[in-house]
């Protein structure tokens, strides 16, 4: 599918004016550069000791790169529309903290890992395909989905972080209510921070 899409894009580029193609390439290059910077930050964070140091490194990148509001909206769906501004702000803040704390917890020790960009989709500005390669040669595919230059979903070997979040959060809201969701998020943040 991606291959066919790529062939289609190349065909369109060859048959029509070059300007849109050039713009797309430029956007594709900038999104790939942004993801590469994020990966460099994760590698640097893995070499830090202490969750605070890792969080300090990662927090700025998450703030710049991730569309936390988009993630928040999708995660709770229709519930979002009935939330007060304060509730929305609190939810977004907790979500941002959870994303940072989760990255800091999972990328907690450097053992020769590296990130590689997949050649497939280099011209796209809405998808960046990468791989996390471990020192034993095994790897995990990490696909970043972007909207307006910001990441709203990360798919690891076919499992979408946003889809999991959506299923998880909506289930809690439906069964226990929105305030319970906020309470669960606070618990998970504390759990991730105590991981050292």
């Amino acid at each position: 599918m991606v291959h066919r899409l790529k062939v289609f894009i190349v065909g369109v580029a060859c048959c029509s004016a070059l300007t849109p193609w050039s713009d797309a390439s430029a956007d594709g290059a900038s999104t790939h550069a942004a993801i590469a910077t994020f990966h460099a930050t994760l590698i640097a964070a893995m070499q830090q000791t202490g969750v605070d140091a890792r969080e300090n490194l990662i927090a700025g990148q998450v703030q710049r790169l991730f569309d936390v509001e988009g993630i928040a909206r999708i995660s709770v769906g229709r519930t979002w529309r009935g939330l007060s501004v304060d509730d929305r702000d609190r939810f977004k803040r907790l979500l941002r903290e959870l994303i940072v704390a989760t990255y800091a917890d999972r990328f907690d020790r450097f053992a020769g890992q590296s990130f590689e960009m997949e050649a497939d989709g280099l011209d796209r500005d809405d998808l960046v395909r990468t791989r996390l390669v471990k020192v034993d040669g095994s790897s995990v595919g990490l696909d970043y989905y972007l909207r307006d230059g910001r990441v709203f979903n990360v798919v690891a070997d076919g499992v979408s972080d946003l889809s999991l979040r959506r299923a998880d959060y909506r289930s809690i809201v439906k069964r226990q209510g929105f305030n319970a969701l906020l309470g669960h998020l606070e618990t998970k943040i504390a759990l991730a921070r105590s991981g050292d």
């Binding site: 989760t102 999972r106 979408s160 889809s163 959506r166 299923a167 959060y169 998970k188």
Partner: protein, 262 residues
């Protein structure tokens, strides 16, 4: 379980899967038995935490990484027979052929599959199974089942899971297969420790989290690691990014989505 028992059970599941195949045309979450599935999940999770997880952690601690990897590769090699057959059944002769070559190479040069020589020769494991074959043949949307002491599955995938768990008995027979099956179970649980640790760290509702992860993973495998992107974006819908005062139509479409996914 006797061979005819396995065949009979699989036939029943296949007939039931066939009867329910018209319930939907995508691979989305479909969980009409959620109440019973949640009960099953709770019981299985308690046993898992009390028995299997400690044993799996011990197994991981005692065995050196290289031995653990080799053992996992041996069991993977046994199941490559199933993968190869299903590659052909899905009309993918190249996939079936690669797996067939893997069996021959790894069983001989790879010392019974302990060393994965085939992967080094650019013949990667294709990871096909009967559930994927049935999906390719048209049984797309299938009822979710959390089978007690077995784990997540669907009516469509269950025959495949049963066949795969029956492989040691089929190959080793006699009393020895029980020992092999136990090693296989512990090995598989040890391999899933990282995933269950992520679930424990991230999931607010572990049942919903596990269910969604299962359906996503199956979709990924059915599409051989390249699921269509269009489906992915339409799953979330434009209204989720839109302004607050969305139309009635948006509300209706989201209700439908919640009905299926929740």
């Amino acid at each position: 379980m006797k061979p005819y028992g396995v065949v009979g059970f699989c036939c029943c599941c296949l007939i039931a899967s066939g009867c329910t195949s018209l319930e939907g045309e995508d691979y989305g979450v479909f969980d009409p038995y959620e109440t019973n599935n949640r009960r099953s999940y709770d019981v299985t999770d308690s046993v898992d935490r009390a028995v299997l997880v400690p044993v799996a952690r011990g197994y991981r601690k005692v065995l050196p990484d290289w031995f653990e990897r080799g053992l996992s590769k041996m069991f993977q090699n046994l199941r490559t027979v199933d993968s190869s057959v299903n590659g052909f059944l899905q009309g993918k002769p190249k996939s079936g052929g690669i797996d067939f070559a893997r069996i021959l190479i790894n069983a001989t040069i790879g010392v019974g599959g302990f060393f994965d020589v085939a992967s080094r020769w650019d013949l990667p494991y294709q990871d096909e199974d009967l559930g994927q074959t049935l999906a390719v043949w048209g049984i797309k949307k299938s009822r979710y089942l959390y089978v007690p002491f077995f784990g997540p599955s669907t009516l469509r995938d269950l025959p495949s899971d049963v066949i795969r768990s029956w492989v040691p008995q089929m190959l080793f027979g006699g009393d020895i297969h029980w020992g092999v099956s136990v090693v296989d179970l512990v090995r598989a649980r040890a391999g899933a420790l990282a995933a269950s640790d992520i679930r424990d760290a991230s999931a607010l509702d572990p049942y919903a989290f596990t269910r969604d992860a299962y359906f996503q993973r199956r979709r990924f495998l059915i599409y051989d690691g390249d699921p269509p992107l269009e489906d992915f974006f339409s799953d979330f819908g434009e209204e989720d990014f839109g302004e607050e005062d969305s139309s009635e139509q948006d509300e209706a479409s989201e209700d439908a989505s919640v009905e299926v996914t929740d």
